[in-house]
């Protein structure tokens, strides 16, 4: 089972790279939601249901919503 957690964390590394290099901010927020989902599955493998219950609402719901609100107040594309 622990190997599964390692696979999820490796996918999370890939997603964090995508989040950093993405210039379309809305896409980056969507990627961070998927990143949260991968961390969730890792926590599930590690048998931490209390952490999952808080994390699922905050990372997938609240933090994504907050970021979308903030992006709607600036520009959508990052200017390099």
């Amino acid at each position: 089972m622990l190997e599964l957690a390692a696979v999820f964390l490796l996918c999370a590394v890939v997603l964090s790279y995508l989040i950093v290099i993405e210039t379309d901010l809305l896409k980056a927020v969507a990627y961070s939601g998927v990143f949260g989902g991968l961390i969730l599955m890792t926590l599930y493998v590690l048998m931490a249901p209390d952490v999952i219950l808080a994390y699922v609402a905050i990372s997938v719901g609240l933090s994504t919503g907050l970021m979308v609100f903030i992006i709607s107040k600036t520009t959508r594309h990052e200017v390099v």
Binding site: D50, L53, A57, G61, L66, S72
Partner: protein, 245 residues
């Protein structure tokens, strides 16, 4: 394939290879632990049955609100300060009138169904927090998703027209925080320890497991966290200069 994409792929593979190499190198030094340490064993043995019982079979909640209750108390205080500072930053915001459009009926019906299910799940998580995994903070943050869904699917005006405006959310949050403070300070007033749980608050009420003050703390934190996050979303979804939200 364009050169920029190739460059990204090369960078990504370098990162992945270095992570894998680092994990392989470190794995010989980090061996998995088989037995619990003394503190963990104390919590697991005592949380429900033992001599220092907190009356809850859910060890995490017992640690959060009883054994390490002081930490959680001040964590709640930090959240209180953060939301108060956000409210005071936004206090001079003008009230712009706007005509909300919202999404189509398909989205609105979906929001209604998902909102109800989320609300029930949040309440179950919070009110069963002393028996099953979950608790006040978890339930509260799930509860805060419901107004967020309503703001996105319908509009901020719909939420306010149905009686859930910023002032009322502040009142609900204050009730929750006051309950936490009262339940925490009451044992200290009658000559016991601050945030003491079991001999003072009942372990069972009419045969139902209440785990002393744990269920009270969970309900109060549920209200405080849910309403606190809702205030932030109500403030952030304020339209600027007539823009629709």
């Amino acid at each position: 394939m364009r050169w920029s994409k190739v460059k990204k792929l090369i960078t990504l593979s370098i990162i992945l290879l270095s992570v894998l190499a680092g994990a392989y190198y470190l794995s010989s030094y980090l061996t998995p632990k088989i037995e619990l340490n003394a503190l963990g064993e104390f919590y697991i043995r005592n949380s429900y049955f033992g001599e220092y019982s907190s009356g809850s079979p859910e060890v995490v909640t017992a640690i959060l609100w009883d054994y390490r209750g002081l930490d959680t108390y001040f964590e709640t205080a930090v959240l209180f300060m953060a939301i108060i500072s956000a409210v005071s930053i936004f206090r001079s915001m003008p009230n712009v009138s706007f005509h909300p459009r919202g999404f189509t009926n398909i989205t609105k019906t979906g929001v209604k169904i998902v909102g109800l299910v989320t609300f029930v799940a949040a309440a179950t998580t919070a009110f069963h927090g002393h028996i099953t995994p979950g608790g006040g903070f978890q339930g509260g943050s799930m509860l805060a998703v419901v107004p967020l869904l309503v703001i996105v699917g319908f509009s901020k005006k719909t939420l306010e027209k149905n009686g859930f405006n910023k002032e009322r959310a502040l009142v609900i949050r204050t009730i929750g925080l006051l309950t936490i403070a009262l339940v925490a300070f009451y044992p200290a007033f009658i000559g016991k320890y601050f945030m003491q749980n079991l001999p003072i608050y009942p372990k069972e009420i009419y045969g139902m497991l209440a785990s002393g003050s744990l269920s009270l703390f969970n309900m109060a934190e549920f209200l405080a966290v849910g309403a606190g996050f809702t205030i932030i979303f109500l403030l952030l979804s304020n339209p600027e200069g007539g823009r629709e939200a």
